[in-house]
Amino acid sequence: MSPLLTLAIKNLWRNKLRTVLTVLGVSAGMFLYAAVQTMQHSLSSATEMNANDTTLVVYRENRFCPSTSRLPEHYLPTIERIDGVREVIPIQIAVNNCGASLDVITFRGVPADSLQKYNPAINVIAGSYDDFLNRSDAALVGRNFAQRRGLSPGDKFEAVGVNVSVAGIISSDSATDENVAYVHLAFLQQASRVGLGVVTQFNVKVDSAGQLDRVASEIDETFSSDQQPTNTRPEKAFFAETARQMIELISFTRWLGLGAVVAVLGLVANAVLLIVRGRVKETAILQTIGFSRLAIATIVLFEGLLLGLAGGFIGVFGAAIFFKMQSFTLGNEGQTLALIPSANVVVSGLLVAIVLGLLASVYPAWKATSKPLVHSLNA
């Protein structure tokens, strides 16, 4: 280890209470920053399209809440016949709250026999898929949903006026699947009183991402003069447009993240400046015995870096563990956004903490050696 780094560590350890309090402050700031970044990252994943996205959502035109989007189920074969369509699944959605909420309960009614074919990524991790197929009031509950509600196979629960029996717990590549309860389509249509033959939306898989726009236009054109005209969009664009309230809220949190960064910067700068001011004479002694200004500045920069890194490590990993344990889901207009910790956020959070620690120490590092040596020796 560099002798200068060793000196920096010993210097920080000299005043344990101040160091611990500073690290705690940095941790709190970096926790907030990482929490905001987790929300932003989760939102980006849910709304930014990539070349692998081949799903369209057919919704009732000019409707935004699942309770007001009602499309005839008999649109299904017409959509299936459109060139480029690979698969279609009708979905009835029932939610407890259309507004932006942290505790949204979403039921997705789908044809039970088509679910796994439509969505092969679904994996039953507890209970059984057969139980789901064999019982009309059965539900496959997403892992996060089950964890939040403390559900396991065999349990019964009631929400949004719908009583279901948990047949299995599912995991999936898609965060949305892990935060909803899949039930039989006919069961949900009856239980939520929208009636048989009416669905909230169709999810349509097309052969390739390049066909999304053409197929969407064709679907909307087909039903444009129907009683229930449609608005068809790629799944992520649909999410972005439908869950605007939630997106605006999350976008606002950027300012909180920025505030956290500024707070951390100020906290570390203040702490390092205090440390430097308390050691004016000692720094002068080190210079007298041959430590260059660069060496002194490096020690101070190391101290800021260590404070930033220690606080960043606790705050960023604390946020990641917190989100992992809590499985938070934001809901809006029937769309669910799972707040999932990511490696990107952890790495970028640690980098931000390092950069903040260094930036905050630049002025104190300069200040430590700016005075003439004789003045500092007489301080």
């Binding site: 007298t288 015995i289 260059s292």
Partner: protein, 236 residues
């Protein structure tokens, strides 16, 4: 003996408010290699200013300070730092050891920025501690040492990189008589056995008597028989 230090017409002045203060005025001084010189004088006489100039931690307003053939008055701040790290060992009145470091680590400080291996550093640090009689206190923190022992550690720190010149600012000023005598004896040994040149500022006539030569300063000039001189007194 050849001359290690040659100070030619050195002045130091600075402004305090609207007043120009000149702690050193056109001083000239020669110090031989291996000499133990003490500088005495009342507070404000300029002795510490002269010591700081010789140690390269301050620069003169005018004049030349030639040490080992190099005019250090012309060096930049960074060059002076490098020069000090090779040529000077500084001993402070209040020792100024780093409290969080052990005696060993304090003595090691001047070597940390050199290219020496850890083993080489260890050898030099232990030799320095042994020389000042504190090899068995290497792991002790300054708070666990007496004043005399702390000053010995400070001397070990000043000599560990084997400088030609040791400057000491009231090295016995904070010690009892017994400890002071042992420190003065150690400084004498360093000149006699190891050829170090020692310049010591002191208020203590007994300490001054331990040096090979003693000079009195007053108002920034040398003094002899009540007369102020720019040059050191001829008769030593």
């Amino acid at each position: 003996m050849s001359s290690l230090i040659s100070i030619q017409s050195v002045s130091k002045s600075f402004t305090k408010g609207k007043t120009v203060i000149t702690p050193l005025d056109q001083l000239t001084l020669e110090v031989a290699r291996g000499e133990f010189l003490s500088l005495m004088g009342p507070s404000g006489s300029g002795k510490t200013t002269l010591l700081n100039l010789i140690a390269g931690i301050d620069t003169p307003t005018s004049g030349e300070i030639i040490i080992n053939g190099e005019n250090i008055a012309a060096l930049s701040r960074a060059q002076l730092t490098k020069w000090r790290s090779v040529h000077v060992g500084y001993i402070f009145q209040l020792y100024h050891l780093v409290p969080i470091l052990s005696a060993y680590e304090n003595v090691e400080l001047p070597l940390l920025l050199s290219k020496m291996s850890r083993a080489e550093r260890r050898e030099k640090v232990l030799a320095a501690l042994d020389l000042v009689g504190l090899a068995d206190r290497a792991d002790h923190r300054p708070s666990e040492l007496s004043g005399g022992q702390e000053q010995r550690v400070a001397i070990a720190r000043a000599i560990v990189h084997d400088p030609d010149l040791l400057v000491a600012d009231e090295p016995t000023g904070d010690l009892d008589r017994e400890s002071a005598d042992s420190i003065l004896q150690l400084l004498n040994e360093l000149t006699e056995k190891f050829g170090k040149t020692v310049i010591m500022v002191t208020h203590d006539p007994k300490a001054s008597a331990a040096a090979h030569r003693s000079l009195q300063l007053e108002k920034g000039k040398f003094i002899e028989d009540g007369h102020l001189l720019n040059k050191q007194p001829a008769e030593q």
